[in-house]
Amino acid sequence: MAKKTEESFSVRRAKHGGIYTLVFAVFSLVWIAPILIVVLNSFKRKAYIFRNPFSISSRSIRDGWEPFVQGARKVMCGWLNYNNAVKKTDFFHAFQYSLFITVASVILIILCTSMCAWYITRVHNKVTGAIYVLCLFSMIVPFQMVMFTLSKFANLLHLGNPLGIVIVYLGFGAGLSVFLFTGFIKGISIEIEEAAMIDGCTPLRTFFGVVFPILKPTAITVAILQAMWIWNDYLLPSLVLNINKYKTIPIAIQYLKQSHGQIDWGAMMAVLVLAIVPIVIFYLFCQKYIIEGVLAGAVKG
């Protein structure tokens, strides 16, 4: 018996630590290597980025320490690329626009679609039924199907600014959100709401006082899914927004590439790092919610 426990213990140890962890540690490092290489290159002069993206010096370390350090001095340029990138892409404005559009859209989507979802689950008639079916339907329509007409209508209605595009996002993102909210609302019992209504609450007070607090987990899921989509979205804002005035981060990056295809790679490396850092910070803080959101979003298919 004793022997057996020892054996299974040793098997366990071999299986769960050591070599597997080592292999995965190396694999993980390789996995994020592209990001690390971009960070490294963002501090190099642009002429040296393509010469050898993996090195930090123009001389090999085999030539001795002194030449290597001198070579590194020649290659590295400190924050120069960052200065260029911020100027060329007007990064801080782009960041503000991205942040404003994402936050405002997410708040509006959560508020409006949760109310809409509650109404169409509690009131049964042809209109609410049709709205639900249309929401389901909208989830399978690719953006290319509506991009031309949507962008033209948005122009006609003067929605080509950060405030107006929020309405477009509410409209195009409504399907998934209403679907997720109704799925959850169908599962909560109606008695609590009825009690509140009998006690004299208006539907508005019932919704915000009783229903909305219960919806919080779904609201977080919806917020995460929509925020990931809107923050990274390129095509919709590039067609709807007045590009000369307002550029979000993805648009600013794409427009760093000039019309004839020339790219200032130094500035590009720096702006990529600037674009990735906020996402990584956000991810590390909200990891739990993001993973839950992904799972909930995947099940809808």
Binding site: C135, Q144, A298
Partner: protein, 285 residues
């Protein structure tokens, strides 16, 4: 209660409904209508029937293969992505549910690229690809196959972490007793994989397969930023082909819209097949 709520339609539903009409319903219906018209903007349309649909394939009576090329190029791309992403992410998920030390950290790392948007991802890889390929005097757009595998790598890097998360959740949902019982009955690893784990994972596999497939068909940002459709439109996936037709050449908006309708039908069929498969699976269980 229903009656009391009913009066509140303007407050509860109308804002969403108006935005939904602007953002989806009207553009969608109008888009179908415009695919039968010649137009340059939404107000100057002229009914032309199926002319746009014909012009997708025939230009001045000559067969134009651009769309067909992009159709099979996209299908092949989606197929390769489905295969690679699912096999790799399933393997990683299996290993990361064994209780290896540092599992949480590894999951975090593998999922990370998924949060970075397509445009940013593509420029990261464009730099890497071109700096490696320059050693053999090539670039990512030298041939359509460099472009193809470049996009495959980028999309795999982005989506493997995402699918891994879904697979991990699926694997953790398999009751431990089942695998134990198989072990006691003398099943080896491959046997329990084939007879217990994979059958139990079928719903998850269906979801992941269709998710990757529809992502592959709808891919746009990575295509635009990484290859721009080069060399000479040869690496255009469907979404970019539609965009290019609509905005690239004057007078072709109608053809672009007609292509978009076909594209929509294609994506819709994929979604409906998936829906059918997942719901029928649920009934069986």
């Amino acid at each position: 209660m229903e009656k009391a709520i009913k009066k509140y339609f303007p407050i509860f539903v109308l804002p969403t409904l108006i935005a939904f009409a602007i953002g989806f319903i009207i553009p969608f219906l109008y888009g179908i209508f415009l695919s039968f018209c010649k137009f340059t903007t939404v107000t100057d349309f002229q009914w032309t029937g199926f002319d746009n649909y014909k012009r997708i394939l025939y230009v001045n009576g000559v067969l134009d293969t651009t769309f067909l090329h992009s159709l099979w190029y996209t299908a092949l791309f989606a197929a390769v992505c489905v295969l690679v992403i699912n096999v790799v992410s399933f393997t990683i998920a299996m290993l990361l549910t064994k209780g290896i030390k540092g599992t949480n950290l590894f999951r975090t790392v593998f999922f990370m690229p998924n949060l970075i948007g397509g445009i940013v991802l593509s420029y990261i890889w464009l730099m890497l690809f071109n700096s490696i390929l320059q050693h053999i005097s090539k670039t990512i757009v030298s041939t359509q196959w460099y472009a193809f595998w470049g996009m495959v790598i980028v999309v795999c890097w982005q989506q493997i972490g995402y699918m891994m998360i879904i697979y991990i959740a699926g694997i953790q949902n398999i009751p431990g007793e089942l695998i134990e019982a198989a072990k006691i009955d003398g099943a080896g690893f491959w046997q329990s994989l084939k007879s217990v784990i994979l059958p139990m994972l079928m719903p998850t596999i269906t979801i992941c397969t269709f998710l990757t497939m529809s992502n592959g068909f709808k891919l746009f940002d990575q295509n635009l930023a990484l290859t721009g459709g080069n060399p000479g439109k040869m690496s255009q996936l469907l979404a970019l082909n539609i965009y290019d037709t609509m905005y690239g050449t004057a007078g072709w908006q109608g053809v672009g819209q007609a292509k978009a309708v076909i594209f929509f039908l294609l994506v819709a069929v994929i979604a409906l097949v998936q829906n059918k498969l997942t719901t029928s699976k649920e009934v069986e269980q």
